[in-house]
């Protein structure tokens, strides 16, 4: 695990805490799949603190009432398959709802 990925752990825990405690109290809101919080978890653990945070901020910026929403995955690492394709082929996958 790279240093930056290790540094992102506390943020991942924070988002997980949100998913477990706060999110269930509210009706589902996100216009995207995966949801913004799931996107954040994947982005932070895949790309580490800096790029992960940056990707998350950009995604949150996209998730506004005028955006069409839809399927929007974290970009895959070079040489890795796209998450959307894995899901479409029913291959076990880490991304949560």
């Amino acid at each position: 695990m790279k240093m930056s990925q290790f540094a992102a752990k506390p943020l991942v825990w924070l988002v997980r805490a949100y998913q477990l405690v706060l999110s269930p109290m509210r009706p589902p809101t996100c216009r995207y799949y995966p949801s913004c919080s799931a996107y954040a978890v994947t982005a932070l653990s895949r790309y580490g603190l800096f790029r992960g945070t940056w990707l998350t901020i950009r995604r949150l910026g996209r998730c506004h009432p005028w955006s069409p929403g839809g399927v929007d995955h974290v970009p895959p690492l070079p040489g890795e398959p796209d998450d959307g394709e894995l899901i479409a082929r029913h291959i076990p996958h880490e991304t949560t709802t």
Partner: protein
């Protein structure tokens, strides 16, 4: 980092302070005692109303989207049928992905987006900071925030609601009134959130969505929620709890309205709406097309059967050969105009004849 955060929060605190102060002025002019807890508590409620009212356009947008959802029902049901009875996480993920892709290609989306929560949370936090800072502002330890000067802060700090100060927290206070008011507010908050969620689950979900693992998890969490409220609530000033509770009430009423007027297709609420509309003799949305299709079919069947009323012996048919053929031609072209379903009916009928 702390300084950066403070300067980021300052404008929001200022806005919160101004809105609260504005409402306080209004309530004072109406005749409430400026130092009363009622005036300040109502100012907090006013803050909620301003914030939620500012988001009504988004709410309207969401309602329009749910109207459009009716139109893409057939496609949605196709996806649901494809994954019927499949509860493994891979299937659920694939199903959600396909559904979301459909929303995008159809240009509609039933979800409100994450922005409203992001916008609201700094205000919640701003109110928290304003209420928490009242005491220090009144003693002169902290700088005044906009219209909340030392005097105003002192007055707000001393304001009590049923004997509990609005800036008091359960953990930081040692008077019974604060304990009781906090506990009551926590119970009210849990109750409103619980009711909102339960209404969503029992009334506004199609039966097919209720038996998946996610819904079960949601159900479990619904019962854990009061504990979460209790644990966090004891750390918050009563004014913040009041804000939270008012927001919950607003959400509940808003959702009640949506479920009543625009229920999710296939849900219990939709059945109830259709029953209400039928009772008042009003047209049921989406029903018109279905009825029209049914009527067309019935008409086609009637046409067939009306032709069947005059059976002819082979002899007579031969006699009036020319006229009979012309009539048959007309009937045939009429049936061909109708949908494929009526064609099947048309095929069947002559068989019963012979």
């Amino acid at each position: 980092m702390g300084d950066f955060f403070n300067s980021l929060m300052h404008p929001i605190e200022l806005l919160v302070a101004w809105i609260m102060y504005g409402f306080h002025q209004v309530f004072t002019t109406i005749g409430l005692d400026p130092a009363s807890g009622a005036a300040w508590a109502l100012s907090i409620i006013g803050l909620v109303i301003v914030m939620r009212a500012a988001m009504i356009p988004l709410f309207v947008k969401q309602i329009n989207a749910s109207r459009k959802m009716q139109l893409i029902q057939p496609e949605l049901q196709k996806i649901q049928k494809k994954y019927k009875g499949k509860t493994d996480p891979e299937s659920r993920q694939a199903m959600t992905q396909e559904t979301m892709a459909l929303y995008r290609s159809e240009g509609t989306n039933p979800f409100s987006s994450c922005l409203p929560i992001l916008v609201q949370s700094p205000f919640f936090f701003g109110l928290f900071r304003v209420l928490n800072g009242l005491e220090k502002i009144s003693t002169g330890e902290n700088e005044p925030i906009g219209p909340i000067t030392r005097e105003v802060a002192g007055q707000a700090e001393g304001a009590t609601l049923f004997g509990a100060q609005l800036s008091d927290t359960f953990l930081g206070a040692d008077n019974t009134a604060t304990y009781i008011v906090t506990i009551i507010l926590i119970i009210l908050m849990s109750a409103t959130t619980f009711l909102t969620q339960r209404q969503l689950m029992t009334k506004n979900m199609p039966a097919s969505a209720l038996d998946n693992p996610f819904a079960k998890q949601q159900k479990l969490i619904m019962y854990i929620m009061p504990v979460v409220f209790a644990v966090s609530g004891v750390n918050f000033p009563i004014g913040v709890l009041l804000y939270w509770f008012t927001t919950n009430v607003w959400s509940m009423v808003q959702q009640f309205y949506v479920i009543r007027k625009m229920p999710a297709p296939g849900s219990a609420a939709e059945k109830a709406l259709h029953a209400r509309l039928a009772k008042r003799g009003k047209p049921i949305p989406g029903e018109a097309e279905r009825k029209a299709a049914e009527e067309a079919e019935a008409a086609a069947a009637a046409e067939r059967s009306s032709q069947r009323v005059q059976p002819k012996s082979k002899k007579r048919a031969k006699k009036q050969g020319g006229a009979g053929a012309a009539a048959k031609k007309q009937g045939g072209s009429g049936a061909a105009k109708k949908k494929g379903g009526s064609g099947a009916v048309a095929k069947k009928k002559p068989q019963t004849d012979s």
